[in-house]
């Protein structure tokens, strides 16, 4: 098309272009829908086996007194769950966290800090 464009030509350009944009994106959308059935990975057996997480948290009292504490607790559980999911490289539905217990500190805080600093220094 030349430099000077009439109103009619501009409308044609608009209609054709929008039609193509829609058609191509709808095609992509259909392809994705197709992908869903074709591309979904077979669910691995991982799902069934509950991964027991023997990390943190010893509850001091069985019932939390205030709601604020409970919210804190939920947040902590969410964070721990996210960390586990991330380190195992699985999706959330695939694991089942049954309990979270705090293990007694094996090393001193100073030792722990020293280790961390060493690691950070090498990054």
């Amino acid at each position: 098309m030349g430099n000077e464009v009439t109103m009619g030509e501009a409308l044609v350009v608009t209609l054709v272009s929008m039609a193509v944009v829609f058609v191509v994106l709808i095609l992509i959308s259909l392809t994705i829908t197709f992908l869903k059935s074709f591309g979904a990975e077979k669910k691995e057996t991982k799902k069934a086996a509950p991964v027991k997480q023997e990390k943190p948290v010893q509850k001091e009292a069985p019932v939390m007194a205030t709601t604020e504490d409970q919210e804190d607790e939920e947040e902590l559980i969410a964070v721990i769950t996210a960390a586990i999911v991330n380190s195992l490289g699985v999706d959330i539905p695939e694991i089942n966290i049954t309990s979270i217990r705090r293990t007694p500190q094996a090393t001193t805080v100073w030792r722990e800090m020293g280790k961390q600093e060493q690691i950070m220094g090498r990054l």
Binding site: L27, K36, G39, A40
Partner: protein, 392 residues
């Protein structure tokens, strides 16, 4: 004698060569630098653009000077050969990456490496919203034709409505390079202003009830789907629309780097070092195209106004389409995610999230809005391909 040396020196300085146009352009570049640094308007882009504009308008520096080439007959062979008589300015050479359409696709590769198409794969229908928002491009294109711009110019102005910097610059560099300065400034300024431009339009077109709709959580997307997606989209889009291949192709190769899980190093380079290097070159040289004669005219004012119109229409049509989907889905789709169809990743999606949360504090639309948002990137690349086909 001494006076003569002084006079010669004076005439070689920029002060003596300064014209009214230079001074005004310098002032504009200072204002843009101020907006970028003090107000935080897209500083990563506006700082290089504004500085490039400043450099190019300091008279005497000649950073954008074209080389002088002469064709002579080689004495020994008798063949005609070209010989560079004077080399061009530094920015002239860096500008070739813009002129030849090299930088924007490289930036797109970085964008691809940063983009997670998961939300789009999880909800394929949201692709339609990414298409609807492209109406802004063409409405503005028609507006620009009515204002007397030529076809290629109008196409370059309309693409501002795609809210996608690299796409806008790519198309403009191919169709109307003389408008690069104003279009870059308009596109990036409006992208920075998305959180101000969009919410009033979104609120005007929706009811509180619609805005408060909480959407179902997206299904998890498998790695295999994420790997297949860029490959299939590339093959499909490039076969249908070869002119969109530089943008779509590089966007998707960047995305594949991200998703394979084996090409982390490539993905990191594409989304960090490479995109930053290219952004510096692109920003500085695009800014440098803004000379007084290209920038200080009525056209620039029209482009700034039309750009705003393009954004507004894109947002509005996206939201209206969102409303249609709200109706057809029986109230499951929140129409606010429609406005995210105007690319501007991820700013537009964040705006949907924010406006949605105002209506219903429990609403979490961000990931739902990312679907139309990334579809908008593909949509505007396709629109650019169409315009390139018509006017290239």
């Amino acid at each position: 004698m001494l006076m003569e040396i002084f006079a010669d020196f004076w005439y070689s300085t920029g002060f003596a060569l300064m014209e009214y146009g230079h001074a005004v352009m310098l002032l504009i570049s200072f204002v843009l630098l101020y907006l970028a640094i003090a107000k935080g308007f897209e500083p990563l882009l506006l700082v290089p653009i504004a500085f490039g504009m400043m450099l190019a308008n300091l008279p005497g520096a000649n950073l954008m000077k074209e080389p002088v080439v002469e064709i002579i007959r080689d004495a020994s062979t008798g063949e005609l050969v070209s010989k560079t008589k004077e080399y061009g300015g530094l920015l002239y050479y860096l500008y070739q990456g813009v002129k030849l359409g090299i930088y924007p696709p490289l930036i797109f590769m970085g964008v691809g490496a940063m983009t997670d198409f998961g939300p789009l794969i999880a909800n394929p229908k949201s692709v339609l919203l990414g298409a609807a928002a492209q109406f802004g491009i063409f409405a503005t294109f028609i507006g620009a034709i009515l204002l007397g711009f030529t076809g290629p110019e109008a196409a370059s102005i309309g693409i501002i409505g795609g809210a996608d910097g690299p796409t806008a610059l790519y198309l403009t560099s191919q169709l109307a390079p003389h408008l690069l300065g104003p279009i870059a400034v308009a596109a990036y300024s409006y992208m920075a202003l998305v959180p101000i431009i969009q919410p009033p339009i979104m609120k005007a077109l929706t009811t509180k009830e619609e805005r408060a709709v909480v959407m179902e959580q997206l299904r998890p997307v498998s790695k295999r789907e994420k790997i297949l997606f860029p490959i299939i989209v590339t093959v499909l889009v490039v076969l249908i629309l070869p002119s969109a291949s530089p943008l779509v192709g590089l966007l998707m190769i960047g995305n594949l780097f991200r998703e394979t899980g084996l090409t982390d190093r490539l993905s990191k380079t594409a989304q960090n070092e490479l995109i930053n290097i290219v952004t510096i070159f692109l920003g500085v040289t695009v800014g440098a195209t803004a000379s007084a004669e290209n920038f200080m005219n009525f056209q620039t004012v029209s482009i700034i106004v039309l750009g705003l119109v393009a954004f507004a229409i894109g947002t509005a049509v996206g939201v209206i389409f969102g409303k249609i989907m709200y109706k057809t889905s029986g109230g499951k789709v929140n129409p606010l995610i429609g406005s995210a169809g105007v690319s501007a990743v991820p700013m537009a999606a964040r705006v949907s999230q924010k406006v949605g949360q105002e209506a219903n504090p429990k609403n979490f639309l961000l990931m739902h809005a990312m679907g139309p948002n990334v579809a908008g990137v593909i949509g505007s690349a396709i629109a650019a391909g169409m315009l390139l086909m018509f006017f290239g």
